[in-house]
């Protein structure tokens, strides 16, 4: 699968370059009068209807930026994360999709905060919320330029909860940081020629802030709000598959 998709990603980048360098391409969506009109492109190139439910799954690699709280950088805590991201939603039209997302991520705890062999640490990151995707290729030449390639951008917002579990011998404790994900921006490109399947690649930048911390220790559970919360970011690169019902 990776061998198949990598050329598509490169092509996708090239197309972006053409779109932005071709003057008038956005300003004049009508086809050139000297050229024959572009043949209408079947929506989604396959048999999936324009409207309907979709489910999808993604994975990849997420890079942390920003701070857990002020003075405690994300990169000091995490080397990165492997997300398992699930989407479910409805295709409102050829261009718009709205739905929800749920991500479970396996985060790698940095040795900077997890000195081994004294401590063993593992971390998971949960994100969930709502998102919309805009598939915009039909804006230019009714989409004929892209063929089976379907670029899209997405926006979303939700909630995030990150759990770090520590253990040393039989002793265990955990810490949960949680807060609103103010938003995330996605950019993706699908190959839609295998309808009802879509396969593609995406990148996502999520912006969030942990505003509540719960610690579970041998003394019990306690919740508190950081005095100095700070913004953090997850920049994710990955691949995805979607099934259009």
């Amino acid at each position: 699968m990776a061998n198949f998709f990598m050329p598509r990603i490169l092509f996708f980048a090239l197309e972006w370059s053409i779109l932005f360098s071709a003057s008038g391409a956005w300003a004049d969506p009508m086809p050139d009068a000297a050229e024959p009109p572009a043949a209408p492109v079947e929506s989604s190139i396959g048999s999936a209807p324009q409207r309907g439910f979709s489910v999808g799954a993604r994975t990849g690699w997420a890079i942390p930026f920003g701070s857990l709280v002020k003075g405690d950088s994300m990169q000091a805590n995490f080397d990165g994360m492997v997300p398992l991201w699930f989407d479910a939603g409805y295709r409102l039209s050829e261009q718009f999709y709205a739905g929800g997302y749920f991500q479970w991520g396996f985060a790698l705890v940095s040795e900077e905060v997890c000195p081994r062999p004294l401590l063993r640490c593992k971390s998971t990151d949960l994100r969930f919320g709502l998102e919309v995707h805009w598939h915009f290729k039909s804006l230019v030449n009714r989409g004929s330029w892209a063929g089976a390639f379907d670029p899209w951008v997405g926006l979303g917002a939700g909630y995030e909860s990150t759990i770090i579990q520590l253990s040393a011998g039989e002793a265990k404790s955990h810490q949960t940081d949680e807060g609103f994900e103010f938003g995330h921006l996605q950019l993706g490109g699908d190959y839609a020629g295998l309808a009802p399947w879509r396969i593609g690649a995406f990148t996502s930048l999520a912006i969030a802030e942990y505003t509540n911390r719960t610690t579970g220790t041998p003394a019990g559970s306690a919740s508190s709000s950081p005095m100095h919360p700070a913004m953090h970011f997850w920049l994710t690169f990955g691949v995805r598959v979607q099934y259009d019902l």
Binding site: C114, P115, L118, A168, A222, S223, S224, S225
Partner: protein, 395 residues
């Protein structure tokens, strides 16, 4: 559900407690040399050094060289701090260059740990059994009924680190206690890091103006070494609990320290309530509940008077062959001075026990005793019986 999580669901704002794991109520064996609690502190499971557990310190002030660099210089943190079987995670630290001093066990002195380390726990100081207990623990046997004083940690704010010019935040940590000293109502800072009761110089001079015995003695502060005036107080009383003959000290540097704390808490502080008072009690500082408990020991045989002693102090010399001891100071007017013991005399044995395998705190204790009793000192040149003197007589 979403709103509840975001709003904290009743969680408290303020310093977020450290995550920790291990036994809740760990007993840390301690040395009580100089009447303060020295415990072994581990960093990241790699380096260990003895540190003082100090209720008078808001932060962990550590000497990086004692931990072979495992503690960062300046404001920073360590990933894991081990106290006995308890591991604290992501502990803020301040690393400052030490003065190459040694702990009583001969290891490099690691510094002091304060409120940022243990301020989220009920923390108890057992002078008799030489333990610090982090977390809840049953009381020792042999204690009288306690007094319980409510407190709310005071002070906190920002400060400037002298070595790095970094501005650091430190938490409200000061436990302020009212006490009466020879009839004077005074305000003290609870300070397990203080060997004696410390007083402002003006107050010290007013109390000592009756001609009671005074000597000078060297003292270590967090900011370095200083020379203090030392005397004995007839009485120190907290909520009806009285301690007699407590040793008190004063110095210009101590005045500066007290002025700094007074500014921090916006209230004049007259002194530090240290071990000269506290060691007669099992001291429980319940930070989560804001309660200080003092349980008097029924048997106070662990309390010894360091100024009723053979009139010398000693220093240890560490080399590849081990520790040797020599006379550091001879107090004037004592039997030791009359018998012409001099500075740098090698001290080999006390009461027949050779000293080479003993730590300096143990050797120092061997010089104490009832006034008028004797100890047999084996010097490199002779063996003599020397009287125990009262160095701080009250009129």
């Amino acid at each position: 559900m979403l709103f509840c999580l975001g709003a904290g669901c009743g969680g408290s704002a303020g310093p977020v407690p450290l995550l920790w794991l291990g036994k809740n109520g760990v007993h840390l064996p301690a040395s009580t040399a100089a009447n303060v609690f020295w415990v072994d502190l581990g960093i990241d499971g790699r380096e260990t050094a003895p540190v003082v557990v100090d209720t008078g310190a808001p932060i962990a002030l550590l000497h990086p060289e004692a931990f072979h660099g495992a503690v960062p210089k300046g404001s920073g943190r360590v990933a894991a701090m081990s106290l006995g079987g308890t591991i604290l995670w992501k502990v803020p630290t301040v690393g400052i260059t030490g003065d190459d001093s040694f702990a009583p066990n001969g290891q490099r002195f690691g510094g002091i740990i304060g409120h940022t380390v243990f301020g989220q726990f009920q923390t108890s100081f057992d002078y008799r059994n030489r333990e610090v207990i982090v977390g809840p623990a049953p009381l020792s046997d042999g204690l009288d009924a306690a007094i319980s004083l409510p407190f709310s940690p005071r002070g906190g704010g920002v400060g400037l680190l002298p070595e790095t010019n970094e501005v650091i935040e430190f938490p409200a940590s000061r436990v302020v206690v009212g006490a009466t000293v020879e009839g004077r109502p005074l305000t003290f800072l609870l300070d397990t890091g203080a060997s004696w009761v410390a007083l402002r110089s003006s107050l010290f001079q007013a109390i000592a103006s009756d001609g009671r015995g005074q000597i000078t003695d060297e003292a270590s502060l967090a900011s370095g070494h200083t020379t203090t005036q030392v005397t004995r107080l007839r009485s120190v009383e907290v909520q009806g609990l009285e301690v007699t003959s407590a040793v008190a000290a004063a110095a210009a540097d101590v005045d500066d320290l007290l002025s700094g704390v007074s500014s921090e808490i916006a209230e004049p502080i007259d002194g530090l309530l240290g071990a000269a008072f506290l060691r007669e009690f099992f001291v429980k500082v319940d930070y989560p509940e804001g309660r200080l408990e003092l349980h008097r020991y029924i048997d106070e045989s662990h309390v010894v008077d360091e100024y009723r002693r053979v009139g010398i102090t000693i220093r240890g010399l560490i080399d590849s062959s081990g520790i040797t001891y020599a006379v550091q100071r001879v107090f004037e007017g004592t039997d030791a001075a009359r018998q012409q013991i001099t500075v740098n005399d090698d001290l080999l044995a006390i009461d027949g026990q050779t000293l080479a395998s003993l730590d300096i705190a143990t050797v120092d204790r061997m010089l104490l005793g009832a006034v008028g009793s004797t100890h047999r000192l084996t010097l490199s040149t002779r063996t003599i019986d020397v009287l125990v003197d009262e160095l701080l007589p009250l009129p």
